[in-house]
């Protein structure tokens, strides 16, 4: 369980995270989505007690993170896959974490195996690791205390497609066994495939928060016409907010019927009219995060 209320971070007069609230329940995966610089990492660091918030509170497993007596046994954290001493061997890095929190060190080889790092990789120094290997080591570090909550910042970064599929299965299994997962990403497809719940952040503010299915249901209707400007005017006059897609269609949060009726009333012939699907979340994401991209096309 993770609960955050009104979390805010200001640096001087710049507000990086602005009144962010949401909760992550056991048994679910929450995708924390936003473009680079939206405040995702700062929010996660505040949850983990590494960055003091300017306002607001965050609790993990019922307590502020810094008040957990031995947080490594309750919460697995991966904030930066590269945040290890490069001169230390992968296996040794994991042993140090296990030692610190009093976790069973005999599980270390098993954990390395679980994240797909073999004995040879474990004996290499972290300096020689690719980003993908560092992510795998980071996930092993997060799992070493057998936690009930996972907080992962961009865990899919640097993983190949096979690695991403592996991580998806791992996190899904973790949540299905009753664990709570909060992971951030700017890779939309990654979150769409995995998350039960999606929180979208933009310029430090939450712009969407809900069940994945509910959010995606709101993506509505895709419509295309030769006279796109007239269609857009017709839809706007009808009180809708059409958002252009990258390939020259319009995306409208309305039913097929409403869109068809408005088009017909304006005498516009749609060349395509269907329920939006495909990269649904991507459209949602761009609509929410950067409406300016659509407005000029």
């Amino acid at each position: 369980m993770i609960e955050i209320h009104g979390l805010t971070k200001r640096y001087g007069d710049r507000t990086v995270v602005d009144d962010v609230s949401f909760a992550c329940r056991p048994g679910t995966v929450t995708g924390f989505l936003g473009p680079n610089g939206a405040g995702k990492s700062t929010t996660l660091r505040m949850i983990c007690g590494l960055t003091p918030p300017s306002a607001g509170t965050a609790t993990v497993a019922g307590r502020p993170y810094r008040d957990l007596p031995n947080p490594g046994r309750r919460v697995g954290v991966l904030l930066d896959a590269s945040a290890h001493h490069p001169g230390r061997k992968g296996r040794e890095t994991l042993i140090l974490s296990a030692m610190t929190i009093g976790a069973d060190q005999s599980r270390v080889p098993e954990l390395l195996d679980l994240v797909g790092l073999d004995a040879t990789a474990g004996r290499k120094r972290v300096r020689a690791y690719s980003l993908g290997m560092r992510q795998r080591l980071g996930i092993a570090m997060a799992l070493v205390g057998d936690p009930e909550v996972l907080i992962l910042d961009e865990p899919a970064n640097g993983l190949d497609p096979e690695g991403i599929a592996w991580m998806r299965r791992l996190l899904r299994g973790f949540a299905d066994r009753g664990g709570t997962v909060l992971l951030s990403s700017h890779l939309l497809t990654e979150v769409e495939a995995l998350a039960d719940r999606i929180v979208v952040i933009r310029s430090g503010r939450i712009v969407a928060d809900g069940d994945k299915d509910t959010l995606l249901a709101g993506t509505g209707t895709l419509v295309r016409a030769q006279d796109l400007d007239r269609l857009r005017r017709a839809l706007r006059d009808g009180g809708l907010e059409p958002a252009p897609t990258a390939d020259g269609a319009l995306l409208v949060s309305a039913s097929l019927e409403d869109v068809a009726r408005l088009a017909a009333a304006a005498g516009v012939v749609p060349t395509e009219l269907r329920a939006a699907n495909g990269n649904r979340l991507e459209q949602l994401f761009f609509n929410l995060v950067d409406p300016a991209v659509g407005a000029t096309s």
Binding site: R45, L50, N70, T100
Partner: protein
């Protein structure tokens, strides 16, 4: 209660307790050894101490060949090099953002700092023992070639241990106050030296230097007569060069945002 139940109970108990200071200190001691840079620094420190003893063994006149003499030589070298170990123990975390991992596991940062200080103290004592071992080996070698003089003043051994512990702590203090390896090493070597030069060059500063230059107050422990004044001067210099940066460092480490 079955074995499974008792092991589960044990697991839950250890899960609920904060990592103990001895445990954290062991982790910090392990960090001295488990990186290539740390290991080589230790090997280099050992080799240089041994080399200095060998030089003494070969080129120093016979009347200076004795256990206490070899020991004093190696301590001199160790007191110069061990602080670097202390600096790196602290700054290594921040240079590589490893602090992000460390403080996620132990959010009470003061405990990590105390563990580092304890590990530094242990390293200082360990170095004293190693130094004594090297000096004994040298005396053994001297015995083969004729005269072996096993004399040593045990008060000097105690003073040496104190000196080495203080040197490592001074390194840790500079590391914590500056949180950057290169900067801390440069400042550590230059600031006290500049102070020593100024102290000896400017007459008005001479009295202050007697109290605040560790280059004067620390060797005073090895003088024939160690007076209450020597201890007072040592305490004053330690307050300025160890306690003050340590206090600043503890505050900085406690407050600094890890990113």
């Amino acid at each position: 209660m079955t074995t499974v139940e008792s092991s589960l109970r044990l697991r839950l108990e250890s899960a609920g307790r904060a990592p103990s200071l001895p445990r954290l200190t062991l982790v910090e001691l392990r960090k001295f050894l488990d990186t290539r840079a740390g290991l080589w620094l230790l090997v280099a420190i050992g080799l240089v101490s041994a080399a200095v003893i060998v030089v003494t063994l070969i080129w120093t006149p016979d009347e200076d060949q004795f256990l206490g003499g070899y020991f004093a030589d190696s301590i001199l070298v160790l007191s110069l090099l061990l602080p670097v170990l202390g600096i790196l123990l602290v700054t290594g975390e921040w240079n590589h953002r490893a602090a992000l991992t460390t403080f996620a596991l132990v959010p009470k940062r003061g405990r990590v700092s105390v563990a580092k200080i304890a590990a530094g103290g242990a390293a200082g004592l360990g170095a004293t023992v190693v130094s004594l071992g090297l000096a004994s080996a040298a005396t053994g070698v001297a015995a083969i070639s004729g005269g072996a003089d096993w004399s040593i003043r045990w008060s000097h051994v105690a003073s040496a241990a104190l000196l080495l512990v203080l040197s490592v702590l001074m390194g840790i203090a500079f590391g914590m106050a500056l949180l950057n390896s290169a900067l801390a090493i440069v400042v550590y070597f230059f600031l006290p030296t500049i102070w020593a030069v100024l102290g000896s060059a400017i007459p008005a500063l001479r009295t202050a230097a007697e109290w605040l230059d560790t280059g004067q107050t620390m060797p005073a422990l090895f003088a024939p007569d160690v007076t209450a004044g020597s201890w007072a001067r040592l305490a004053a210099s330690v307050a300025v060069w160890v306690a003050l940066p340590l206090a600043i460092g503890l505050l900085r480490v406690g407050r600094r945002e890890v990113s």
